[in-house]
Subunit: 233 residues, 2 copies
DNA sequence: ACACATATTAAGGCGGTATTAAGATGCCGC
DNA sequence: GCGGCATCTTAATACCGCCTTAATATGTGT
Protein backbone atom coordinates (compact mmCIF):
# COMPACT_ATOMS: atom_id res chain seq x y z
CA UNK A 1 0.00 0.00 0.00
CA UNK A 2 1.10 3.56 -0.56
CA UNK A 3 1.71 6.06 2.17
CA UNK A 4 -1.54 6.37 4.12
CA UNK A 5 -3.31 9.70 4.14
CA UNK A 6 -4.24 10.97 7.61
CA UNK A 7 -6.72 13.76 8.26
CA UNK A 8 -5.67 15.66 11.41
CA UNK A 9 -8.55 17.56 13.02
CA UNK A 10 -7.25 19.81 15.80
CA UNK A 11 -7.81 23.50 16.54
CA UNK A 12 -4.76 23.99 18.75
CA UNK A 13 -1.95 24.93 16.36
CA UNK A 14 0.82 23.70 18.64
CA UNK A 15 -0.67 20.23 19.06
CA UNK A 16 -1.50 20.08 15.36
CA UNK A 17 2.05 20.85 14.41
CA UNK A 18 3.37 18.28 16.82
CA UNK A 19 1.20 15.63 15.21
CA UNK A 20 1.88 16.60 11.62
CA UNK A 21 5.64 16.76 12.05
CA UNK A 22 5.51 13.34 13.70
CA UNK A 23 3.44 11.97 10.83
CA UNK A 24 5.76 13.48 8.26
CA UNK A 25 8.76 11.94 9.97
CA UNK A 26 7.15 8.49 9.77
CA UNK A 27 6.25 8.51 6.12
CA UNK A 28 2.60 9.44 6.33
CA UNK A 29 0.84 11.94 4.14
CA UNK A 30 -1.60 14.22 5.92
CA UNK A 31 -4.31 16.86 5.68
CA UNK A 32 -5.38 19.24 8.41
CA UNK A 33 -8.61 20.81 9.58
CA UNK A 34 -9.03 23.27 12.44
CA UNK A 35 -12.79 22.95 12.95
CA UNK A 36 -15.63 20.53 12.52
CA UNK A 37 -17.05 21.93 9.34
CA UNK A 38 -13.82 21.80 7.38
CA UNK A 39 -13.10 18.39 8.87
CA UNK A 40 -16.26 16.96 7.34
CA UNK A 41 -15.51 18.76 4.10
CA UNK A 42 -11.95 17.48 3.86
CA UNK A 43 -13.02 13.97 4.77
CA UNK A 44 -15.60 13.85 2.02
CA UNK A 45 -13.48 15.45 -0.67
CA UNK A 46 -10.10 13.81 -0.06
CA UNK A 47 -11.18 10.42 1.21
CA UNK A 48 -8.38 9.95 3.77
CA UNK A 49 -7.41 6.53 5.14
CA UNK A 50 -7.65 7.50 8.80
CA UNK A 51 -8.99 10.50 10.78
CA UNK A 52 -7.32 11.78 13.94
CA UNK A 53 -9.98 13.79 15.69
CA UNK A 54 -9.82 16.18 18.61
CA UNK A 55 -13.19 16.42 20.36
CA UNK A 56 -12.84 20.02 21.54
CA UNK A 57 -13.53 21.96 18.38
CA UNK A 58 -14.64 25.60 18.23
CA UNK A 59 -17.68 25.23 15.98
CA UNK A 60 -19.23 21.87 16.80
CA UNK A 61 -18.87 18.93 19.11
CA UNK A 62 -16.46 16.26 17.95
CA UNK A 63 -19.08 13.57 18.39
CA UNK A 64 -21.17 15.37 15.82
CA UNK A 65 -18.27 15.12 13.38
CA UNK A 66 -18.17 11.37 13.99
CA UNK A 67 -21.85 11.06 13.25
CA UNK A 68 -21.60 13.06 10.06
CA UNK A 69 -18.66 11.06 8.74
CA UNK A 70 -20.30 7.80 9.73
CA UNK A 71 -23.39 8.70 7.74
CA UNK A 72 -21.53 7.91 4.53
CA UNK A 73 -18.31 6.16 5.46
CA UNK A 74 -16.80 3.76 7.94
CA UNK A 75 -13.20 4.88 7.66
CA UNK A 76 -11.23 4.57 10.91
CA UNK A 77 -11.55 7.47 13.37
CA UNK A 78 -9.11 7.79 16.26
CA UNK A 79 -10.20 10.32 18.86
CA UNK A 80 -7.62 12.38 20.73
CA UNK A 81 -9.20 14.32 23.57
CA UNK A 82 -8.46 16.18 26.76
CA UNK A 83 -11.65 14.79 28.26
CA UNK A 84 -10.77 11.71 30.28
CA UNK A 85 -14.23 11.01 31.66
CA UNK A 86 -15.64 7.58 30.96
CA UNK A 87 -18.87 9.02 29.65
CA UNK A 88 -16.99 11.02 27.03
CA UNK A 89 -15.07 7.96 25.89
CA UNK A 90 -18.18 5.82 25.72
CA UNK A 91 -20.15 8.44 23.84
CA UNK A 92 -17.44 8.82 21.23
CA UNK A 93 -16.81 5.09 20.84
CA UNK A 94 -20.50 4.32 20.51
CA UNK A 95 -20.90 7.14 18.01
CA UNK A 96 -18.51 5.27 15.76
CA UNK A 97 -14.97 6.07 16.85
CA UNK A 98 -12.48 3.23 16.61
CA UNK A 99 -10.08 4.29 19.35
CA UNK A 100 -9.73 6.93 22.05
CA UNK A 101 -6.56 8.53 23.42
CA UNK A 102 -6.52 11.04 26.25
CA UNK A 103 -4.24 14.06 26.30
CA UNK A 104 -1.50 14.32 27.16
CA UNK A 105 -0.71 11.38 24.95
CA UNK A 106 2.58 9.79 24.03
CA UNK A 107 3.61 10.26 20.43
CA UNK A 108 4.92 6.72 20.36
CA UNK A 109 1.60 5.34 21.51
CA UNK A 110 -0.20 7.32 18.86
CA UNK A 111 2.07 5.86 16.22
CA UNK A 112 1.53 2.35 17.58
CA UNK A 113 -2.25 2.80 17.45
CA UNK A 114 -1.97 4.10 13.93
CA UNK A 115 -0.05 0.97 12.99
CA UNK A 116 -2.81 -1.16 14.52
CA UNK A 117 -5.39 0.64 12.43
CA UNK A 118 -3.30 0.30 9.29
CA UNK A 119 -2.77 -3.38 9.92
CA UNK A 120 -6.52 -3.76 10.12
CA UNK A 121 -7.00 -1.87 6.86
CA UNK A 122 -4.63 -4.09 4.93
CA UNK A 123 -6.14 -7.15 6.60
CA UNK A 124 -9.47 -5.97 5.30
CA UNK A 125 -8.21 -5.90 1.77
CA UNK A 126 -6.93 -9.43 2.05
CA UNK A 127 -10.28 -10.52 3.37
CA UNK A 128 -11.13 -12.03 6.72
CA UNK A 129 -12.24 -15.44 5.58
CA UNK A 130 -9.43 -16.58 3.33
CA UNK A 131 -6.11 -15.87 4.92
CA UNK A 132 -4.41 -16.72 1.65
CA UNK A 133 -2.03 -13.97 0.65
CA UNK A 134 -2.34 -14.90 -3.01
CA UNK A 135 -5.56 -15.34 -4.95
CA UNK A 136 -5.47 -17.59 -7.98
CA UNK A 137 -8.22 -18.08 -10.54
CA UNK A 138 -7.44 -19.55 -13.91
CA UNK A 139 -4.58 -17.55 -15.36
CA UNK A 140 -5.22 -14.66 -12.97
CA UNK A 141 -3.13 -14.17 -9.87
CA UNK A 142 -3.42 -11.43 -7.28
CA UNK A 143 -0.68 -11.07 -4.69
CA UNK A 144 -2.30 -9.05 -1.93
CA UNK A 145 0.86 -8.74 0.12
CA UNK A 146 2.91 -7.44 -2.80
CA UNK A 147 -0.04 -5.42 -4.06
CA UNK A 148 0.10 -6.53 -7.66
CA UNK A 149 -1.67 -8.76 -10.14
CA UNK A 150 -0.54 -11.16 -12.83
CA UNK A 151 -2.20 -12.63 -15.89
CA UNK A 152 -0.55 -15.70 -17.36
CA UNK A 153 2.62 -14.89 -15.41
CA UNK A 154 2.81 -11.39 -16.81
CA UNK A 155 2.33 -8.49 -14.43
CA UNK A 156 -0.63 -6.23 -15.03
CA UNK A 157 -0.15 -2.50 -14.71
CA UNK A 158 -3.20 -1.40 -12.75
CA UNK A 159 -4.10 2.00 -11.36
CA UNK A 160 -4.91 2.13 -7.61
CA UNK A 161 -8.65 2.16 -8.25
CA UNK A 162 -8.47 -0.68 -10.70
CA UNK A 163 -6.46 -2.72 -8.22
CA UNK A 164 -8.89 -2.04 -5.39
CA UNK A 165 -11.76 -3.05 -7.62
CA UNK A 166 -10.03 -6.25 -8.64
CA UNK A 167 -9.22 -7.12 -5.03
CA UNK A 168 -12.80 -6.58 -4.01
CA UNK A 169 -14.07 -8.86 -6.72
CA UNK A 170 -11.44 -11.52 -6.01
CA UNK A 171 -11.97 -11.66 -2.29
CA UNK A 172 -15.67 -12.14 -2.98
CA UNK A 173 -15.19 -14.48 -5.91
CA UNK A 174 -18.40 -16.22 -6.87
CA UNK A 175 -20.61 -13.60 -5.30
CA UNK A 176 -22.50 -10.85 -7.06
CA UNK A 177 -21.47 -7.48 -5.65
CA UNK A 178 -23.95 -4.64 -5.99
CA UNK A 179 -22.94 -1.29 -7.43
CA UNK A 180 -23.53 0.47 -4.14
CA UNK A 181 -21.48 -2.07 -2.20
CA UNK A 182 -18.55 -1.71 -4.58
CA UNK A 183 -18.57 2.09 -4.61
CA UNK A 184 -18.87 2.19 -0.83
CA UNK A 185 -15.87 -0.07 -0.44
CA UNK A 186 -13.76 1.89 -2.90
CA UNK A 187 -14.80 5.49 -2.33
CA UNK A 188 -16.65 5.16 0.98
CA UNK A 189 -19.76 6.63 -0.59
CA UNK A 190 -22.28 5.85 -3.26
CA UNK A 191 -23.43 8.68 -5.47
CA UNK A 192 -25.00 8.41 -8.86
CA UNK A 193 -21.83 9.55 -10.56
CA UNK A 194 -19.73 6.93 -8.81
CA UNK A 195 -21.61 4.19 -10.59
CA UNK A 196 -20.74 5.84 -13.89
CA UNK A 197 -17.09 5.94 -12.86
CA UNK A 198 -17.30 2.35 -11.79
CA UNK A 199 -18.40 1.42 -15.31
CA UNK A 200 -15.38 3.19 -16.75
CA UNK A 201 -13.03 1.40 -14.38
CA UNK A 202 -14.67 -1.87 -15.21
CA UNK A 203 -14.10 -1.21 -18.90
CA UNK A 204 -10.40 -0.46 -18.47
CA UNK A 205 -9.95 -3.36 -16.07
CA UNK A 206 -11.62 -5.77 -18.46
CA UNK A 207 -9.54 -4.48 -21.32
CA UNK A 208 -6.46 -5.37 -19.32
CA UNK A 209 -7.41 -8.83 -18.14
CA UNK A 210 -10.00 -10.22 -20.52
CA UNK A 211 -8.86 -11.61 -23.84
CA UNK A 212 -12.23 -10.82 -25.38
CA UNK A 213 -13.72 -7.88 -23.48
CA UNK A 214 -16.87 -8.49 -25.47
CA UNK A 215 -17.50 -11.86 -23.80
CA UNK A 216 -15.81 -11.62 -20.42
CA UNK A 217 -14.35 -14.73 -18.85
CA UNK A 218 -13.60 -13.42 -15.39
CA UNK A 219 -15.93 -10.56 -14.56
CA UNK A 220 -19.59 -11.07 -15.29
CA UNK A 221 -22.23 -8.34 -15.40
CA UNK A 222 -25.50 -8.82 -13.57
CA UNK A 223 -27.87 -6.34 -15.10
CA UNK A 224 -29.53 -4.03 -12.63
CA UNK A 225 -27.49 -5.50 -9.80
CA UNK A 226 -23.72 -5.44 -10.14
CA UNK A 227 -20.68 -7.53 -11.03
CA UNK A 228 -19.24 -10.88 -10.10
CA UNK A 229 -15.87 -12.64 -10.35
CA UNK A 230 -16.44 -16.00 -12.01
CA UNK A 231 -14.65 -19.08 -10.81
CA UNK A 232 -12.54 -20.33 -13.69
CA UNK A 233 -11.21 -23.88 -13.80
CA UNK B 1 -24.96 -12.69 14.96
CA UNK B 2 -25.25 -14.87 18.05
CA UNK B 3 -23.91 -13.92 21.44
CA UNK B 4 -20.19 -13.36 20.95
CA UNK B 5 -17.79 -15.70 22.75
CA UNK B 6 -15.12 -13.92 24.79
CA UNK B 7 -11.99 -15.59 26.11
CA UNK B 8 -10.96 -13.94 29.40
CA UNK B 9 -7.29 -14.46 30.23
CA UNK B 10 -6.55 -13.25 33.76
CA UNK B 11 -4.80 -14.91 36.70
CA UNK B 12 -6.27 -12.69 39.44
CA UNK B 13 -9.49 -14.39 40.46
CA UNK B 14 -11.15 -11.23 41.73
CA UNK B 15 -10.58 -9.30 38.49
CA UNK B 16 -11.57 -12.31 36.42
CA UNK B 17 -14.86 -12.62 38.29
CA UNK B 18 -15.54 -8.94 37.88
CA UNK B 19 -15.09 -9.24 34.14
CA UNK B 20 -17.06 -12.43 33.70
CA UNK B 21 -20.03 -11.26 35.74
CA UNK B 22 -20.05 -8.07 33.70
CA UNK B 23 -19.95 -10.05 30.48
CA UNK B 24 -22.71 -12.36 31.66
CA UNK B 25 -24.88 -9.38 32.58
CA UNK B 26 -24.47 -7.99 29.05
CA UNK B 27 -25.37 -11.10 27.13
CA UNK B 28 -21.91 -12.35 26.20
CA UNK B 29 -20.74 -15.92 26.41
CA UNK B 30 -17.26 -16.43 27.83
CA UNK B 31 -14.39 -18.79 28.52
CA UNK B 32 -11.63 -18.26 31.07
CA UNK B 33 -7.94 -19.01 31.30
CA UNK B 34 -5.65 -18.28 34.24
CA UNK B 35 -2.29 -18.62 32.49
CA UNK B 36 -0.67 -18.29 29.10
CA UNK B 37 -0.54 -21.95 28.21
CA UNK B 38 -4.22 -22.62 28.76
CA UNK B 39 -5.04 -19.32 27.06
CA UNK B 40 -3.40 -20.48 23.83
CA UNK B 41 -5.06 -23.86 24.18
CA UNK B 42 -8.53 -22.43 24.74
CA UNK B 43 -8.13 -19.97 21.90
CA UNK B 44 -7.19 -22.70 19.44
CA UNK B 45 -9.78 -25.22 20.55
CA UNK B 46 -12.83 -23.00 21.11
CA UNK B 47 -12.23 -20.34 18.48
CA UNK B 48 -13.58 -17.37 20.47
CA UNK B 49 -14.68 -14.12 18.82
CA UNK B 50 -12.56 -11.84 21.00
CA UNK B 51 -9.76 -12.30 23.55
CA UNK B 52 -9.42 -10.13 26.68
CA UNK B 53 -5.83 -10.56 27.77
CA UNK B 54 -4.02 -9.59 30.94
CA UNK B 55 -0.32 -9.18 30.33
CA UNK B 56 0.84 -10.21 33.79
CA UNK B 57 0.53 -13.96 33.65
CA UNK B 58 2.37 -16.43 35.91
CA UNK B 59 3.84 -18.72 33.29
CA UNK B 60 4.67 -16.56 30.29
CA UNK B 61 4.63 -12.98 29.13
CA UNK B 62 1.36 -11.79 27.66
CA UNK B 63 3.12 -10.55 24.56
CA UNK B 64 4.20 -14.10 23.89
CA UNK B 65 0.56 -15.18 24.00
CA UNK B 66 -0.23 -12.55 21.40
CA UNK B 67 2.52 -13.83 19.13
CA UNK B 68 1.37 -17.43 19.44
CA UNK B 69 -2.25 -16.59 18.70
CA UNK B 70 -1.27 -14.35 15.80
CA UNK B 71 0.68 -17.19 14.23
CA UNK B 72 -2.57 -18.78 13.09
CA UNK B 73 -5.34 -16.25 13.64
CA UNK B 74 -6.10 -12.57 13.56
CA UNK B 75 -9.03 -12.57 15.92
CA UNK B 76 -9.32 -9.36 17.97
CA UNK B 77 -7.19 -9.17 21.12
CA UNK B 78 -7.88 -6.49 23.73
CA UNK B 79 -5.12 -6.15 26.31
CA UNK B 80 -5.94 -5.24 29.89
CA UNK B 81 -2.82 -4.51 31.89
CA UNK B 82 -1.52 -2.91 35.03
CA UNK B 83 1.55 -1.72 33.15
CA UNK B 84 0.95 1.83 32.02
CA UNK B 85 4.35 2.46 30.46
CA UNK B 86 4.35 3.52 26.83
CA UNK B 87 6.88 0.87 25.91
CA UNK B 88 4.59 -1.87 27.21
CA UNK B 89 1.65 -0.55 25.24
CA UNK B 90 3.69 -0.22 22.08
CA UNK B 91 5.18 -3.66 22.40
CA UNK B 92 1.77 -5.26 22.85
CA UNK B 93 0.10 -3.28 20.06
CA UNK B 94 2.92 -4.00 17.64
CA UNK B 95 2.83 -7.67 18.57
CA UNK B 96 -0.71 -7.77 17.24
CA UNK B 97 -3.04 -6.50 19.96
CA UNK B 98 -6.02 -4.48 18.78
CA UNK B 99 -6.53 -2.33 21.86
CA UNK B 100 -4.94 -1.63 25.24
CA UNK B 101 -6.60 -0.68 28.49
CA UNK B 102 -4.72 0.09 31.70
CA UNK B 103 -5.88 -1.02 35.12
CA UNK B 104 -7.79 0.19 36.93
CA UNK B 105 -10.20 0.34 34.05
CA UNK B 106 -13.82 1.35 33.92
CA UNK B 107 -16.19 -1.49 33.21
CA UNK B 108 -18.26 0.80 31.03
CA UNK B 109 -15.24 1.68 28.92
CA UNK B 110 -14.40 -1.99 28.50
CA UNK B 111 -17.92 -2.65 27.30
CA UNK B 112 -17.75 0.26 24.88
CA UNK B 113 -14.48 -1.02 23.42
CA UNK B 114 -15.98 -4.46 23.10
CA UNK B 115 -18.85 -2.94 21.14
CA UNK B 116 -16.36 -1.23 18.83
CA UNK B 117 -14.65 -4.55 18.17
CA UNK B 118 -17.95 -6.30 17.56
CA UNK B 119 -19.06 -3.57 15.17
CA UNK B 120 -15.89 -4.17 13.21
CA UNK B 121 -16.47 -7.91 13.12
CA UNK B 122 -19.99 -7.63 11.79
CA UNK B 123 -18.87 -5.05 9.24
CA UNK B 124 -16.39 -7.61 7.98
CA UNK B 125 -19.01 -10.25 7.58
CA UNK B 126 -20.99 -8.15 5.15
CA UNK B 127 -18.21 -8.47 2.64
CA UNK B 128 -17.09 -11.96 3.55
CA UNK B 129 -18.78 -15.01 2.15
CA UNK B 130 -20.06 -16.30 5.45
CA UNK B 131 -23.80 -16.25 4.96
CA UNK B 132 -24.80 -19.74 3.87
CA UNK B 133 -28.15 -18.95 2.31
CA UNK B 134 -28.61 -21.67 -0.28
CA UNK B 135 -31.87 -23.25 -1.36
CA UNK B 136 -31.67 -26.81 -2.66
CA UNK B 137 -34.40 -28.81 -4.30
CA UNK B 138 -33.55 -31.89 -6.33
CA UNK B 139 -30.97 -30.81 -8.86
CA UNK B 140 -31.84 -27.15 -8.44
CA UNK B 141 -29.73 -24.85 -6.31
CA UNK B 142 -30.26 -21.17 -5.62
CA UNK B 143 -27.50 -19.25 -3.89
CA UNK B 144 -29.22 -16.14 -2.59
CA UNK B 145 -25.99 -14.59 -1.29
CA UNK B 146 -24.15 -15.10 -4.56
CA UNK B 147 -27.24 -14.15 -6.55
CA UNK B 148 -27.22 -17.04 -8.96
CA UNK B 149 -28.83 -20.41 -9.63
CA UNK B 150 -27.53 -23.82 -10.65
CA UNK B 151 -29.12 -26.88 -12.22
CA UNK B 152 -27.21 -30.12 -11.89
CA UNK B 153 -24.09 -28.17 -11.01
CA UNK B 154 -24.30 -26.04 -14.12
CA UNK B 155 -25.02 -22.37 -13.74
CA UNK B 156 -28.23 -21.00 -15.19
CA UNK B 157 -28.11 -17.69 -17.01
CA UNK B 158 -31.20 -15.93 -15.77
CA UNK B 159 -32.44 -12.42 -16.44
CA UNK B 160 -33.21 -10.26 -13.39
CA UNK B 161 -36.93 -10.88 -13.61
CA UNK B 162 -36.48 -14.61 -14.08
CA UNK B 163 -34.19 -14.73 -11.07
CA UNK B 164 -36.60 -12.75 -8.92
CA UNK B 165 -39.40 -15.04 -9.93
CA UNK B 166 -37.39 -18.14 -9.15
CA UNK B 167 -36.36 -16.77 -5.74
CA UNK B 168 -39.96 -16.00 -4.90
CA UNK B 169 -41.06 -19.52 -5.74
CA UNK B 170 -38.15 -21.09 -3.89
CA UNK B 171 -38.63 -19.05 -0.75
CA UNK B 172 -42.24 -20.19 -0.72
CA UNK B 173 -41.58 -23.74 -1.86
CA UNK B 174 -44.61 -25.95 -1.46
CA UNK B 175 -47.03 -23.02 -1.36
CA UNK B 176 -49.24 -21.94 -4.22
CA UNK B 177 -48.57 -18.31 -5.09
CA UNK B 178 -51.33 -16.33 -6.78
CA UNK B 179 -50.72 -14.26 -9.91
CA UNK B 180 -51.43 -11.03 -8.11
CA UNK B 181 -49.09 -11.90 -5.27
CA UNK B 182 -46.25 -12.70 -7.64
CA UNK B 183 -46.66 -9.61 -9.78
CA UNK B 184 -46.90 -7.40 -6.72
CA UNK B 185 -43.68 -8.86 -5.35
CA UNK B 186 -41.81 -8.44 -8.61
CA UNK B 187 -43.17 -5.20 -10.04
CA UNK B 188 -44.93 -3.77 -6.99
CA UNK B 189 -48.18 -3.65 -8.92
CA UNK B 190 -50.67 -5.98 -10.49
CA UNK B 191 -52.15 -4.97 -13.82
CA UNK B 192 -53.78 -7.22 -16.32
CA UNK B 193 -50.78 -6.96 -18.61
CA UNK B 194 -48.36 -8.01 -15.91
CA UNK B 195 -50.02 -11.39 -15.65
CA UNK B 196 -49.43 -11.84 -19.36
CA UNK B 197 -45.78 -10.93 -18.86
CA UNK B 198 -45.60 -13.32 -15.97
CA UNK B 199 -46.69 -16.11 -18.28
CA UNK B 200 -43.91 -15.25 -20.69
CA UNK B 201 -41.32 -15.25 -17.91
CA UNK B 202 -42.63 -18.52 -16.64
CA UNK B 203 -42.22 -20.01 -20.11
CA UNK B 204 -38.60 -18.88 -20.47
CA UNK B 205 -37.80 -19.90 -16.91
CA UNK B 206 -39.25 -23.35 -17.42
CA UNK B 207 -37.41 -23.72 -20.68
CA UNK B 208 -34.20 -23.12 -18.77
CA UNK B 209 -34.74 -25.37 -15.79
CA UNK B 210 -37.22 -28.04 -16.79
CA UNK B 211 -36.02 -30.93 -18.88
CA UNK B 212 -39.49 -31.41 -20.32
CA UNK B 213 -41.24 -28.05 -20.21
CA UNK B 214 -44.37 -29.90 -21.29
CA UNK B 215 -44.62 -31.77 -17.98
CA UNK B 216 -42.88 -29.55 -15.44
CA UNK B 217 -41.07 -31.13 -12.55
CA UNK B 218 -40.35 -28.06 -10.46
CA UNK B 219 -42.94 -25.42 -11.17
CA UNK B 220 -46.55 -26.53 -11.21
CA UNK B 221 -49.44 -24.55 -12.65
CA UNK B 222 -52.61 -24.18 -10.61
CA UNK B 223 -55.28 -23.17 -13.07
CA UNK B 224 -57.15 -20.06 -12.12
CA UNK B 225 -54.89 -19.48 -9.14
CA UNK B 226 -51.15 -19.32 -9.76
CA UNK B 227 -47.93 -21.33 -9.54
CA UNK B 228 -46.13 -23.47 -7.02
CA UNK B 229 -42.60 -24.76 -6.50
CA UNK B 230 -42.83 -28.52 -5.97
CA UNK B 231 -40.66 -30.26 -3.45
CA UNK B 232 -38.52 -32.76 -5.31
CA UNK B 233 -36.82 -35.66 -3.52
C1' DA C 1 -67.14 -29.55 -29.74
C1' DC C 2 -67.03 -25.25 -27.57
C1' DA C 3 -65.31 -21.81 -24.43
C1' DC C 4 -61.86 -20.51 -21.49
C1' DA C 5 -57.29 -20.51 -19.53
C1' DT C 6 -52.58 -21.15 -20.23
C1' DA C 7 -48.29 -21.80 -23.22
C1' DT C 8 -45.51 -20.38 -26.85
C1' DT C 9 -43.43 -17.52 -30.26
C1' DA C 10 -41.81 -13.42 -32.41
C1' DA C 11 -41.07 -8.37 -32.99
C1' DG C 12 -40.47 -3.81 -31.44
C1' DG C 13 -39.33 -0.32 -28.10
C1' DC C 14 -36.86 0.93 -24.24
C1' DG C 15 -33.50 1.09 -20.58
C1' DG C 16 -29.30 -0.12 -18.87
C1' DT C 17 -24.52 -0.96 -20.01
C1' DA C 18 -20.09 -0.48 -22.64
C1' DT C 19 -17.12 2.42 -24.74
C1' DT C 20 -14.76 6.45 -26.06
C1' DA C 21 -12.71 10.84 -25.54
C1' DA C 22 -12.04 15.16 -23.52
C1' DG C 23 -11.58 17.93 -19.44
C1' DA C 24 -10.35 18.23 -14.43
C1' DT C 25 -7.62 16.90 -10.79
C1' DG C 26 -3.85 15.48 -8.17
C1' DC C 27 0.94 14.00 -7.71
C1' DC C 28 5.72 14.05 -8.63
C1' DG C 29 10.31 15.89 -9.77
C1' DC C 30 12.77 19.89 -10.86
C1' DG D 1 6.01 27.10 -7.33
C1' DC D 2 5.74 25.30 -11.87
C1' DG D 3 5.18 21.93 -15.54
C1' DG D 4 4.42 17.26 -17.12
C1' DC D 5 2.51 12.91 -16.37
C1' DA D 6 -0.79 9.66 -14.78
C1' DT D 7 -5.15 9.04 -12.98
C1' DC D 8 -9.79 10.20 -12.17
C1' DT D 9 -14.16 12.27 -13.46
C1' DT D 10 -17.66 13.60 -16.51
C1' DA D 11 -20.38 13.53 -20.53
C1' DA D 12 -21.87 11.85 -24.96
C1' DT D 13 -22.76 8.09 -27.97
C1' DA D 14 -23.32 3.36 -29.59
C1' DC D 15 -24.87 -0.93 -28.52
C1' DC D 16 -26.91 -4.96 -26.69
C1' DG D 17 -30.31 -7.46 -24.24
C1' DC D 18 -34.45 -7.46 -21.57
C1' DC D 19 -39.17 -6.43 -21.23
C1' DT D 20 -43.45 -5.71 -23.12
C1' DT D 21 -47.02 -6.62 -26.18
C1' DA D 22 -49.77 -9.04 -29.34
C1' DA D 23 -50.91 -12.87 -32.04
C1' DT D 24 -51.21 -17.76 -32.37
C1' DA D 25 -51.07 -22.45 -30.61
C1' DT D 26 -52.06 -25.78 -27.14
C1' DG D 27 -54.37 -27.64 -23.44
C1' DT D 28 -58.41 -28.37 -20.16
C1' DG D 29 -62.98 -28.79 -18.43
C1' DT D 30 -67.90 -28.95 -19.40
Amino acid sequence: MNKPLILVVEDDTAVRNLITTTLKAHDYRFLTAANGESAVLEASSHNPDIILLDLGLPDMDGVEVIHKVRSWSNLPIIVISARSEDTDKIEALDAGADDYLTKPFSVEELLARLRVTQRRLTALQIGAANTEAVFTNGKLKVDYAAGCAFLDGQELHLTPSEYKLLCLLCKNAGKVLTYTFITQQIWGRSWENDVASLRVFMATLRKKLEKEPGSPQYIQTHIGVGYRMMKVE
